[in-house]
Symmetry: C2
Subunit: 252 residues, 2 copies
């Protein structure tokens, strides 16, 4: 059983070895976005689910990286002046600020298609189908966010953050051919937990609506439900329990 | 054997019946972009190749529509202020001008993923893989165009226009399980022909570099090579010959 750090190293190694298609300048922008670090939570989660169900991480890696590329695509487009207008990301200029807007639009597009290329490296379309559905959900969430047209924050976050967390779990199960059982509930609660803690750290979203104390309570409840979903699985979920705890207590 | 007009009607019907995923406002923008008309050359070509190889058009339709959605995605993003800055498209406000920039970015993203959902409706990943490779080529061509960094116009157009024409042929063959033979050459020459005539009609691109007479000559040569590729195929290519002729002589 590999530790979270070992799984993260696997992810970083696989991402570093990717050779995106395209002219050098476009590839440079794609690599810039991908090399920006970040916690790699989604692909690590994906690999950890694979390990818990007895799969070889090497087999799950393309799916895990595909999820990370979709996440990276969404950041590149979200940061654009017309959307969130963020000129920094993880302590560096965001992709559009480093290159320009047109290159960032195209680099985001390329990341999204590269994600599908990875998901399509499997013999069946199952992983890519799951990824497509989750990505559409995420784009819908981003639309609700940008246009401030969500009915409620929980529904918005379930799309914008939750769908890709759920997909991180689901694609690993597809690769392993495992039965879903309580895995979907685990993915859903983990996505909710991630967002509650994000809002606590940033002092926005749920914290603005419900206050800090209530948001903390909801985060802890999501963590408990995630652990309960794991407890019902007939699998070695020790690394996944560690992921739940580190997401619940993270400070960055 | 269906005529080009009958094939176009099939395409329009299938596009009209698509139900994109997402919040109503986003779906409205996606539909706006899709409903803008246009010649539907790529999906008609795809269906005509299918018919020539004896396939049921209904079977090829999802792949044909997937190609059209990728084309539509590329127009929505290309029209953005940061790229070509076109505020009209086919006599109507372009998607960003009708909605706004942020919605156009997200609608383009959604169109791209919907294209993959259609391509993934087949039992094998072959159609979606072909589409992913072609789309990356097209994005690379758009990058060369936007950054004015192409070494030569032929190489640029081969990516920006050509790859999707080639894919229109290739995905039909994938659906039918047909051997490639001279089909790839046909797709390639048709893409070149389309672009030469586009430049003649717009008075730009090749016309600016080589003049009108030379561009006309190159268009005619591409048409001849496309017809020669068809002549070597053991298939009823009458509709496809008509498409070559109509592309060579089109005035809009």
């Amino acid at each position: 059983m590999r530790s979270v750090d070992e799984l993260r190293e696997l992810v970083e190694g696989a991402l570093a070895e990717l050779t995106p298609a395209g002219p050098p300048g476009l590839v440079e922008a794609v690599r810039y976005a991908l090399d920006g670090g970040g916690k790699r939570i989604r692909p690590v989660l994906c690999l950890a689910v694979g390990e818990a169900t007895g799969a070889d991480p090497e087999e799950v890696l393309p799916a895990a990286c595909a999820v990370e590329l979709v996440h990276t695509f969404s950041l590149v487009h979200d940061d654009l002046p017309a959307l969130d207008d963020d000129d920094t990301r993880r302590g560096r200029p965001s992709t559009w600020a480093q290159f320009d807007e047109s290159v960032a639009v195209l680099a985001g597009d390329a990341l999204l298609v590269e994600a599908f290329r990875l998901a399509l490296s499997y013999a069946t379309p199952a992983v890519a189908r799951e990824l497509a559905d989750a990505t559409l959900g995420m784009i819908g969430g981003q639309y609700l966010d940008v246009t401030a047209s969500a009915d409620d924050l929980v529904a918005l976050n379930r799309l914008k953050t939750g769908r890709l967390f759920e997909a991180s779990v689901a694609v690993a199960l597809e690769v392993c051919g495992s039965e879903p059982r309580t895995w979907p509930a685990f993915g859903r609660e983990l996505g909710a937990l991630f967002q509650f803690v994000d809002d606590l750290l940033d002092g926005d979203g749920h914290v603005l609506v419900h206050g800090e104390e209530e948001t903390r309570r909801q985060a802890d409840e999501a963590a408990e439900r995630a652990l309960a979903a794991l407890a019902e699985l007939n699998a070695d979920t020790s690394v996944l329990r560690g992921i739940v705890e580190s997401l619940a207590t993270r400070t960055a």
